[in-house]
Amino acid sequence: MRPGFLAKNPSVIWFLLILAIFTLTITLLSHAYGPGVISTSMVKTLGKTLCLCLIAIAMDLVWGYTGILSLGHFAFFGLGGYMIGMWLMYERTRDIVLASASDFPMTPQELQDAIGSQIFGVVGSSNLPAIWSFAGSLPMQLLLVVLVPGLLALVFGWLAFRSRVAGVYLSILTQAMTLALSLYLFQNESGLRGNNGLSGLQNIPGLSADQDHSSVWFLWASALALALGYLLAAAIVAGKFGSVMRGIRDDEARVRFLGYPVEGFKLFVFALTAVIAAIAGALYYPQAGIINPGEMAPIASIYLAVWVAIGGRGRLYGAVMGAFFVSIVSSWFTGGRVPDVPLGFYTIKWVDWWQVLLGLAFVLVTLLAPKGLSGLVDLIAGLRSPRRGGAPLGPDAGSLQQEEARE
């Protein structure tokens, strides 16, 4: 009997189990459902971290498995956030306008104008741009969360892969795309409130629950999305499709000569991961409460690559570990809760020095530990890659090398 998917991938079970335990623990310790050991803001941070883990999985699929170092996935993340943010902001503003209006009923046009001037007052405009046409409808905006980044990724990927832009050129090109998008959104004319971004997203319209409860619900939603995303990604990389992806990563030309449409595979992975990133963003920003174009700056996407590299590329749990570890440690260091180190002549303030530490750690991981944190898992499981050194055995014994033949 052929072993099932889960039997072949024990890490999936482990992962889901740990995630479930984690979510349950946080829930039971939260303000809403337990003694309140964990503050609501901490619950939010953890929920956001789960969303970052989800986008890290997307990054691992596209970079760790397919070898496309995309520095643009945070743009898709941000776009997803903007799409859901438009609905949140529109609905909430509508509620506010209706609540503050007099008894006299408003015409639809007046309502629209009032919402427009509420939302766009800060950028000195008062009418809703055309891109807000669907903002009143949750299903449409949810569809846009998937469609807008997906289509952008499709078009961009098609253009890039078609002309065989690969390697570092692709990285630079994706970085340019991210920069262009964030610069575009920084303009007031883009219709998304320029550098003010969208705010007040933590208030969910039509939801009477307080922040204590809604933050836990968002944690659940993020955990669910992460679990589903992990399952999907594991299913993809476990099958034949995954083999082709790894083939493209290791030797693109050979895969092409074997007859696989490499461009199609890359395009599919690129667009799929863009959609996953967008969904992660749509869950992240309601918890963050505010989104502005600065979030989409190219540096964010590079940090994403940093997380995946520190966690360990080419393994889904590695990506999750990296994202979780680095973002939690980063928020710990930058939160000013780490005690300063007095050296007598100079006091090391971690808020100032954390970036330096991160940068250096990143160099060291790249140089010394290409497997990243997930190498620790190998160590625990006693896995070790075989030594492949030694002299070739010669034509008669195939192309094996001495050490390989011995195992």
Partner: protein, 663 residues
């Protein structure tokens, strides 16, 4: 008759100051001949107009001043004194004197000859105090005298005064003064001013059109300031066909909206003021009775058509003022015609002025594109400077150095630190340039030895590792130098700009950067093509193992080449720091553009980098010109352009072919 003679008198007086006295003396009997007044010239005029002069009002004083100005010798002195409030009236016999305060008394002098006329106690004299309006009229009259003043500075001042605030009355004296103008420069100015005044105040259309045409495509601001009011238009509504000098007949819907058209009608009192939607809503809201308005339920009021019905019901009942319905308003709008009308009534003049302005704006456009070209070129040389180091590390060695931007910053901070110790700006820049090269060379070599040499086979990881270095360095700069911008002051001889004409100018600092970029292009070519190091670098990048077997040490060459590229980044940092603010993030602003420059230009070719920098710099300035308010948009579109450009030339403008292309 009298007028003609007087004009002749003025003309002669202005033209021949030397003989004016004589001629005025001869003319005086003629001018005064009609009256019984025995006095002549200024004295007569003064005597006749004592009351008007003593209590002048702006409305009535004009003719008097004209008369004084025309009266002959002493007129300018008297006018000047009058404007300066140095004229007094002796109350006993109603005589005017030029006065000067002397203790408790006034020293008097004759207004015509200026000869002393003794003193008078204070109570006998009442000072004549013209108000500012009158003084302005006097000033205008004085200008005529000043135009032929023997002192050139006075003449210039008069010209400036006319230029600022010209009047029709200035035209004649100005024309008269041209022929006698001894100074060629001032004569040119006078002639120019005369033509400008002719455009505005010329007698007939032919004269004015000729004056307009005589300027050709002159780009002077004064000409544009003269022509622009001529083509100023006013939007008007007409009952029937438009009248007056029509600039453009407006069509509803295309040229102006219905709302604007209605506003015009209201302004012209051709239609009643319409009660606005907001006012209507308020009126409705004020008349809600038992949950209904004007017979309609309150809930229906969300429909604009129902609102109008309810309002007209209310209006019928007399509770609110009646309001034109949409249809009635539309009928009013349709019944009228709309046009832009020139303020200037003469069609020939406006046509010539439009043509003249079009000529001017064509020329200005041409100049601006030259200026734009210079701007683009200077931006291109900045990008080239920032990218030339990358052309070595990335273009030749294939190493993605994300910390390249931080090397630029490092160079700029070196300049800043040097200026802290060397106060002389020229010397400090001369010290900073080699020092920045040395420091960034060292940093580059250290980075290559410690990190990059382990990663030559893994380019994507080089990108990540150097990015790690980049964020660490950036934070380090922030910790050392703080987050605020640090100044890097350029030497004084680089201040200012080379002004080529009104429109085209380029600052010296940009010229310096352009020169520096050229110097580095030359240096790069020399090192790469003419030195042993360049030869070995080229050998190692093409085939490291072959080069090694020829006795070249690839490790050493890689190290030196990387250091060289980084060192150039340091120098670029000093140059960029001279005109941009030095912050820990300044490198970030250039890193993406630099990579773009290298990629667009074509990896591995310095001329490609040059072409890439020119393309990107020119493009950015071009887009900024089209949309000047928005540099962000310019950058967005430029990056989009580059992404599309890469589609068509994936290997850049200058693509290497054959084995050199590598892969």
């Amino acid at each position: 008759m009298r007028k003609v003679l007087m004009t002749l008198g003025i003309f002669l007086m202005l033209a021949l100051p030397g003989v004016a006295q004589e001629s005025a003396a001869q003319m005086a009997p003629a001018t005064a001949g009609q009256g019984a007044d025995p006095q002549t010239g200024l004295a007569a005029v003064l005597a006749r107009n004592v009351t008007k002069i003593a209590k002048p009002s702006r409305m009535t004083i004009g003719p008097v001043i004209d008369e004084i100005a025309a009266s002959g010798p002493g007129a300018s002195r008297f006018l000047q004194a009058w404007a300066d409030r140095r004229v007094g009236l002796r109350t006993s016999d109603d005589t005017l004197f030029l006065i000067e305060k002397k203790g408790q008394d006034y020293a008097l002098s004759d207004p015509v000859t200026g000869a002393s006329a003794g003193t008078a106690p204070r109570n006998e004299i009442s000072e004549v105090k013209p108000n500012s309006g009158v003084r302005a009229v006097i000033g205008a009259a004085l200008v005529r005298f000043l135009l032929s003043d023997p002192d050139p500075t006075k003449r210039r001042e008069a010209l400036t005064a006319i230029e600022r605030d010209g009047e029709a009355s200035h035209l004649a004296p100005l024309r008269a003064s041209i022929a006698q103008e001894p100074d060629a420069q001032i004569r040119l100015e006078k002639q120019r001013l005369e033509r400008l005044l002719t455009i505005r105040f010329g007698k007939d259309a032919g004269e004015r059109v000729a004056a307009i045409d005589s300027f050709g495509a002159d780009t002077g601001l004064d000409l544009r300031a003269t022509l622009n009011p001529l083509v100023a238009t006013q939007r008007k509504a007409f009952d029937g066909a438009p009248q007056g000098n029509v600039a453009k007949t407006l069509r509803l819907g295309r040229d102006l909206s219905e709302g604007e058209a209605y506003a015009l009608l209201v302004a012209a009192k051709m239609a009643p003021e319409r009660i606005s939607d907001g006012a209507m809503k308020q009126a409705l809201a004020a008349n809600v009775v038992n949950g209904s308005v004007g017979g309609l339920p309150l809930a229906d009021m969300s429909d604009p058509a129902k609102r109008e019905l309810a309002y007209s019901a209310l209006a019928k009942a007399g509770t609110v003022a009646p309001r034109l319905s949409e249809a009635e308003a539309q009928a009013l709008i349709d019944a009228h015609s709309y046009a832009d009308i020139y303020a200037e009534p003469d069609a020939a003049v406006t046509k010539a002025a439009e043509a003249g302005l079009a000529r001017v704006s064509r020329k200005v456009g041409l100049m601006q594109s030259v200026d734009l070209g210079l701007d683009g070129l200077s931006l291109a040389s900045i990008y080239f400077l920032a990218a030339i180091g990358l052309a070595i590390t990335f273009g030749i060695m294939g190493v993605i150095n994300m910390a390249h931007g931080e090397f630029i910053t490092m160079g700029a901070y070196t300049g800043y630190v040097v200026q802290q110790f060397v106060p002389d700006y020229t010397a400090s820049i001369l010290i900073a340039l080699p020092l920045a090269f040395a420091i960034t060379f060292g940093a580059g070599v250290a980075m290559e030895r410690l990190v990059i040499r382990y990663l030559y086979k893994r380019p994507l990881e080089t990108l990540l590792a150097t990015f790690g270095i980049s964020i660490a360095l950036q934070q380090l700069f922030k910790n050392i130098f703080g987050t605020q911008a640090r100044p890097l002051t350029s030497p004084p001889w680089l201040d200012g700009a080379l002004q080529i004409n009104d429109i085209v100018s380029i600052s010296y600092i940009r010229i310096a950067i352009f020169v520096l970029a050229l110097v580095f292009l030359g240096l790069y070519l020399w090192v790469m093509k003419r030195t042993r190091l360049g030869l070995e670098v080229r050998a190692v990048t093409q085939n490291p193992s072959m080069a090694a077997s020829m006795g070249i040490n690839p490790d050493r060459i890689n190290m030196l080449a990387f250091g060289f590229g980084s060192g150039i980044a340091g120098i670029a940092g000093v140059a960029i720091g001279l005109f941009a603010k030095v912050t820990s993030e300044m490198g970030q602003d250039y890193i993406v553009q630099s990579f773009m420059t290298v990629v667009v230009g074509g990896v591995g070719s310095i001329f490609g980098t040059l072409a890439g920098a020119t393309l990107i710099g020119g493009l950015q300035k071009g887009i900024e010109f089209l949309n000047p308010s928005n540099t962000l948009a310019a950058q967005t579109y430029m990056i989009l352009f580059i992404i599309i450009f890469i589609q068509f030339r994936p290997r850049g403008i200058v693509a290497l072919k054959g084995r050199a292309a590598g892969d």
